[in-house]
Amino acid sequence: MMMHNIMLVEGNRLMLEQLSNIINNTENVKLVARYQDANEALGQGIVFTPSVILLDADHQDSIRVLEEFSRVFPNAAIICTGEKWHAESSSLYVNAGAKCFLVKPFSSDDLTEAIASFSNSTFNTTSKVITFFSPKGKSGKTTLIANLAMAIARRSNSTVGIIDADLQFGDMALFFNLTPKSTIVEAARDTDFLSPVSLNSYYVPLVKNVSVLCGTKEPSLIDRVSIPALESLINMSKNLFQYLLIDVPAGFNPTSIAAAEMSDITYIVSMLNGGYELQHIQRALEIFKCWPDYQKRVKTLLTRVEPCTITAQKQLADAIGYPVEGIIPNAFLEISDAVDDGHMALDLNPNSILSQRINFLAKKIIMNKQDDEDDF
């Protein structure tokens, strides 16, 4: 295990002591220098060759000071510390050279986690957020999201997070056969004390690069996840994952609206059942049309499409009067066999139409993200 030399810069004298104690009780780190005054640290700190700098960001001048530190200590990873994490200032910190943000006072685990997170990969700045909306439920979207997450992670070697915000009847934990210690309820409860790094521990890792924030365990708990808390969780998660897939309750409700508002793409997902599914999509589209850029942000996906052909896709698009981004075949038996056994339907035949369709969609999403990045 690599040893990290830490320099602590903290304006509050009492907090300086408290944080020093925490650092001294943390494994694999060594407190090599500590300052109450940032200018002193800038002038003298260099002789201690710190690899990690914990920098107090709770003052007006913090961005300028931060830029100064990243200029003077180009080889050190800078972690900003503060009373509370704010989505707005977070991107400013990252642009000014910070690796991440910790809420004070942090625990030894938070610190270890933070260091591990930026040792593994760079802190994420561009994230694609995708909400999966369904008009009436029973859309097959839980299966779709789970499979899509795997496919995106595998194809692009990116990190993918899933938030199960289908608050009353979220199935994600069951799909992955998980018994999570922490769910969206605990994360929402703690949101005031969390930063992206500490939120990471509420996610349950599934496979390499894919993690899930599981849903509530019983319907009465939904009141515990407020909309501001959900928004804050989404904002923090954007810093953790390159792709964030959000499952929301059926229909238009505060949760699904908030998630869609914060998303780059909202997929309207519906399962063909011989009823009025296409009309429901049209009805939902009418509402999304209040966004001026809805054509770019709202896409449709249909599941249980048989035969699952390009012709069928075109016919469906004509019937709806809106492009259909993807179609998924009827794979009820394949999927239910897998789910009932407590594993995912993705380890089935990779040549099946189901896998092909999901991979195709994953490719589109990855390309869409790369296009956006090229625009910068």
Binding site: P135, F169, S220, P249, A250, G251, I287, S336
Partner: protein
């Protein structure tokens, strides 16, 4: 005793997953009760994406919004003229469709919907209510004023059963009389690997009634807009639906009802 003070029965269809057949069974229950001569009102309270109007191919501008608005401006105004009517072969019942526009669904207050139902229940023998699959403020209020809650489930795969279990447990925490909640299984013989006895064990409750799987008849009924119990072709599903209704009317299934056109009942409800 003044007849107008007698409140009719309110039967609500509820489930914890979508696409379990709430709308179809609700429509058939309303139709069968109407066929047997009861006055029936069918309310579609899946406010955003309700399908009752679609399934019955009704063409009307009236909806629950009209009723709520009327109640607000003049609470003594009679509501029945503002209801849509479904008629097939001289059998008819009233319908409260879901709002015309989706955005109306968002502004309707649960309290005013409950007021509408409270007013209408003195005028019908049965009010049948279709809902969405969640424990919303509106649905909880509807469950409260219901005489009977028909909790519909299907057995397809584990997540559905998990949600059925959560739903049943949550209903139990509401402390209704035990016979208020009726657990009904739909599409019992559909393709699945799950054993019914296991489901009963997990739920801790027996099914009050079981309906067979007949996807094709159901699909046809939706396509033609004619409820199964009113069509001439009688399937196992039709019979099972009628036998469910008979459990709610306390008089057994009327298998030898008179010819519709000559029935004395139709003179009053035709």
């Amino acid at each position: 005793m003044n007849e107008s003070q007698i409140d009719g029965a309110i039967i609500t269809f509820f489930s914890t997953s979508s696409a379990v057949g709430k709308t179809l069974i609700g429509i058939n229950m309303a139709s069968e009760l109407a066929r047997e001569g009861y006055s029936v009102c069918l309310a579609d309270f899946d406010l955003q994406f309700g399908d009752v109007k679609n399934y019955l191919q009704l063409n009307t501008d009236y909806s629950i919004t009209t009723l709520c608005d009327t109640m607000k401006t003049n609470s003594s105004h009679p509501l029945t003229p503002l209801l849509a009517t479904y008629t097939y072969n001289n059998i008819s019942f009233q319908v409260i469709p879901a709002p015309q526009k989706l955005e109306e669904a968002y502004t309707l207050e649960p309290d005013s919907i409950i007021d509408v139902i409270k007013k209408l229940r003195s005028q019908y023998d049965y009010i049948i209510i279709d809902t969405t699959s969640m424990f919303s403020v509106l649905n909880l209020a509807l469950l409260d004023i219901s005489t009977i809650v028909t909790f519909l489930g299907i057995v397809d795969f584990i997540p559905t059963i998990k949600n059925m279990k959560i739903g049943n447990d949550t209903l139990n925490t509401l402390n209704y009389d035990a016979n208020k909640i009726r657990l009904v299984l739909n599409r019992s013989d559909a393709k699945t690997r799950i054993d019914l006895q296991d489901v009963v064990r997990i739920l801790g409750d027996n099914f009050y009634h079981i309906l067979p799987n007949d996807f094709e008849s159901a699909r046809q009924s939706i396509a033609t807009g004619i409820p199964l119990v009113l069509s001439d072709q009688k399937s196992d599903l039709t019979r099972a639906l009628q036998s469910l209704v008979s459990k709610y009317t306390n008089k057994g299934y009327m298998s030898t009802y008179k010819d519709k056109s000559s029935s004395w009942i139709s003179k009053f409800f035709g």
